[in-house]
């Protein structure tokens, strides 16, 4: 696929062929109308109608974040800044009082009040509404996973105040509130939520250009919302999000001047994007953690023997080499279980040396484990072959093979669904690829859903009382600093147990055209659209 380096002769030859073929076809130049202030960028077709509580994937997330404003929003560093909220306060991390600013309106003229939030959250949490983000409300008192129940923890005090009672204390609860699930909804939405999702009415920096601005599979046109007066005031006239099925096409469009900002670089351009777009590219760690899990139900991988083997495997992987060679530096070797863009990330946790390449120590640990019970058979690592994982899986298994002298191979599944099937049915025969992208910039979000006993994404049945206790203490801590300390301690438990072998953090790599400036990527790998200016 390295077309761009085929060399002049090949291109000339093919071009000559094309000229013969077309009888010198005259291509017509695109007529560029002067819509200078509109920024075009890439996206993908949202999975569901644009209802905030039913939008948990990036395609729809980009749009809902742009057209809604919640209590808070995230700045580029992932810190929260108040939007509709005037204050979010609590004395005990369990009972919160939220006060709203006056003057916020939805684009249909309705005022944003305490009810706008409370009703929307109740809608999102209600069992029979089957909203994909329902679990985000599970810590609010009254939430139920298997029956319709009202969130009794939400109480409206007056137009601009409501209180929230959590089921258990959570010191960094406000950090969640910039996530799309927590957006307010106008009362018009409840008449027909699906129709609302086609033409959503929000209170964010942008709004839909017109009825039907979302053209399915093609794109969506957003213009600035004149009524918006929050911290994300747009510096441009609007946003045209074009949906691409292939990143290669999107990349060609930035090169050809049809697209202003692209927030991903296709594999084929890994080597060339920095020279194709000098000074107009970004490559920085994102809130995406990648590793692989070893199930606890496998023989040899639990108990003391399992601990030793997990450490041995981890130390036999040359992360630096693989990120440099396979990923051309678009991954950053892992030093913890979260991500460098998250407040509280650390590269000096106790026990983090287990994530460094150390063949000698790896062999020693493996031998120690063999003394408990000798290992036979092949080590395999499952992955879905439709996601471009084969190269790094092979590199990792080769690294293990060469260091430990055991047979190690990748185990491809045709699709992600097939891999997930065996994973949730406890039928894996070895490790499995695992990844996590943060929903909101908090250490807790990288730990609780994956490693807490019985958590939704804890497929490999990891359980540790010590870890659970530390997580709970962190959640109940009176300050974010104390919470961070506890979460880091909890990660030190993980480093000793290694339920997941951390590999690396995915970087966000993106490029933009000459016609735009002030392109900064946020903590969530999405450009801060409102700051982008068009230079023409």
């Amino acid at each position: 696929m390295k077309i761009r380096r085929l060399g002049i002769p090949a291109i000339a030859l093919a071009a000559a062929g094309a000229l013969v073929l077309s009888g010198c076809a005259s291509g017509d130049a695109p007529a560029e109308s002067d819509t200078a202030a509109i920024i075009t960028t890439n996206g993908s077709e949202p999975q569901n109608p644009l209802v905030p509580t039913n939008t948990t994937e990036t395609g729809g997330g980009k749009i809902t974040t742009s057209i809604f404003a919640g209590l808070v929003s995230y700045n580029a560093k992932g810190e929260i800044e108040n939007e509709v909220a005037k204050s979010i306060e609590s004395d005990d991390a369990q009972n919160w009082t939220v006060t709203l600013n006056d003057g916020w309106e939805f684009t249909d003229g309705e005022a944003v009040t305490a009810d706008s939030f409370v009703d929307a959250w109740n809608f999102g949490a209600k069992f029979s509404n089957a909203q994909s983000a329902s679990y985000f409300f599970d810590n609010i008192a009254g939430f139920s996973y298997d029956a319709d129940a009202e969130l009794t923890g939400l109480k409206v005090v007056d137009e601009s105040t409501f209180t929230v009672e959590l089921a258990s204390p959570e010191a960094d609860w406000p950090l969640r509130l910039g996530y799309t699930a927590f957006m307010p909804l106008p009362s018009a939405a409840y008449e027909d939520m699906e129709a609302f999702g086609e033409n959503p009415i929000g209170n964010g920096p942008y709004m839909l250009a017109k009825e039907g601005a979302w053209e399915h599979e093609v794109g969506i046109d957003l213009v600035t919302n004149p009524e918006y007066d929050g911290v994300r005031k747009p510096a441009n006239g609007g946003l045209n999000i074009v949906f691409y099925a292939s990143m290669d096409a999107a990349y060609a469009d930035v090169q050809g001047g049809n697209l202003d900002v692209l927030d991903a670089v296709p594999d084929a351009a890994f080597e060339s994007y920095e020279s194709d777009f000098p000074d107009r590219f970004v490559n920085q760690p994102a809130a995406i953690f990648q590793g692989f899990n070893m199930p606890y139900y496998l023989e040899h991988w639990s108990g003391e023997e399992g601990k030793l083997r997990r450490a041995a495997i981890s130390m036999s992987i040359d992360r630096k080499e693989i990120t440099d060679v396979i990923f051309q530096g678009t991954r950053t070797p892992a030093t913890d279980f979260t991500s460098p863009v998250i407040d509280g990330y650390s590269d000096s946790l106790k026990g983090a040396e287990v994530l460094e390449y150390n063949p000698k120590e790896a062999k020693a640990k493996w031998a120690e484990a063999d003394a408990i019970a000798p290992y036979t058979g092949t080590f395999d690592l499952a992955y879905n072959s439709d996601g471009g994982h084969a190269a790094w899986v092979d590199a990792v298994t080769n690294s293990i093979k060469n260091t430990l002298g055991i047979e190690a191979i990748g185990k491809p599944y045709p699709t992600f669904a097939a891999a997930l099937d065996d994973r949730s049915a406890d039928k894996l025969t070895g490790g499995t690829r695992a990844g996590w992208q943060g929903d909101y910039p908090s250490l807790y979000n990288f730990l609780a859903p994956l490693y807490q006993t019985g958590a939704g994404s804890n497929y490999e049945d990891y359980t540790s009382e010590e870890f659970d206790a530390l997580l709970k203490e962190g959640a109940a801590a009176s300050s974010v600093e104390d919470a961070t300390a506890k979460y880091q301690e909890a990660q030190e438990v993980l480093l000793a147990d290694l339920p997941t072998i951390p590999l690396w953090y995915s970087n966000v790599s993106g490029v933009w055209s000459e016609s735009v400036e002030n392109v900064v990527f946020g903590w969530d790998s999405v450009p801060m659209y409102t700051d982008i200016t068009k230079s023409e």
């Binding site: 073929l21 291509g27 329902s134 996973y145 599979e217 997930l420 859903p449």
Partner: protein, 309 residues
């Protein structure tokens, strides 16, 4: 003739049921739970997944799912995608674009392919013939995506003569470049088919007779040689129309065209039974009709061919 056509059309009914049942079964047999896979590493609450599965009848046995689909099909309801859009809407968007692209490609490959092939066949062994053979060999051996990327890079990115990708309205001018890419391989085959056929026919008895009768060369070539040489070419074009409609995934991807190939590919990956089957059903019909058209054209091209009742 009418009998023949009617019989062929009736044959479509079992083909339709067989194909839809088979395809539905294949999609059903794809490993994994499609709804769980929709959400990747971040599953929603288990109750939510169950409700969505029930909404799309995925909790029922295969044969029940199929008959629900067929039952709705005959009431004009093709089901919905997993994002809740009616499949008929998706089809109404994808097919017109792909049809335009496929017909444009077909026109390009037919016109230029036959023309080049004819000239090459008439001047066998001359410079034009040799270069036509070399170019066609090149086009056949280079994969479509290479041709696609190269043409896109040269004409759209570097020269700026065309738009890099196709916009949502997909006017013919923007479809020209992708149509060229799509037509390239078949063009090469048509050149070779026509050339071989023409050079064969040039030495046929009826051509010698026609020439001996004193007909002009123009008439000999235009009516006797060309018409008889078109039988294999038309067969090829008929099959090709079918594959152009469905097989443009690569080209559609390169030029970001929201057409049939890409939609079906995505639906298969998601395990969306109703979408896949509805699209395939239409394609089956297109395939069968194209073949019928080809068979009918034989008679028009070659008077020696007659249809049995």
């Amino acid at each position: 003739m009418i009998w023949y056509t009617g019989k062929r059309l009736l044959q479509m009914i079992p083909v339709f049921f067989g194909a839809t049942l088979l395809i539905y079964f294949m999609v059903f047999s794809l490993p994994g739970d499609p709804i769980a896979a929709l959400y990747g590493d971040r599953p929603p609450a288990p109750g939510v997944i169950e409700q969505i599965r029930a909404q799309y009848n995925l909790d029922k046995p295969f044969i029940v799912q199929y008959f629900i689909y067929i039952g709705n099909f005959f009431q004009g309801d093709l089901g919905t995608t997993y994002s809740g859009r009616p499949v008929s809407d998706v089809m109404a968007k994808a097919f017109p674009i792909t049809a335009r692209l496929a017909l444009l490609a077909l026109a390009i490959e037919a016109i230029f392919g036959i023309l080049v092939g004819l000239v090459a066949g008439l001047r066998k062994g001359k410079l034009f013939d040799t270069s036509a053979l070399v170019v066609s060999l090149l086009l056949i051996s280079v994969p479509t995506f290479v041709i696609g990327f190269v043409l896109q890079y040269v004409f759209a990115v570097k020269l700026g003569w065309a738009r890099t990708t196709v916009s949502s309205e997909a006017p013919l001018s923007e479809l020209l470049l992708p149509a060229l890419v799509l037509a390239s391989v078949s063009f090469a085959y048509i050149v070779r088919l026509t050339r071989a056929s023409v050079s064969d026919n040039l030495s046929a008895d009826f051509v010698r007779t026609a020439t001996a009768k004193g007909l002009s060369r123009r008439r000999v070539v235009g009516v006797h040689v060309l018409r008889n040489s078109l039988v294999p070419v038309v067969t090829f074009l008929g099959v090709d129309l079918g594959s152009l409609m469905v097989g443009a995934i690569v080209t559609e991807g390169i030029f970001n065209i929201n057409g049939v190939g890409g939609t079906v590919y995505k639906a298969i990956k998601l395990g969306e039974g109703p979408t896949v089957v509805s699209f395939i059903a239409v394609m089956v019909v297109i395939f069968v009709l194209a073949n019928l058209l080809v068979d009918l054209l034989y008679a028009a091209l070659d008077p020696r061919i007659r249809y049995a009742k």
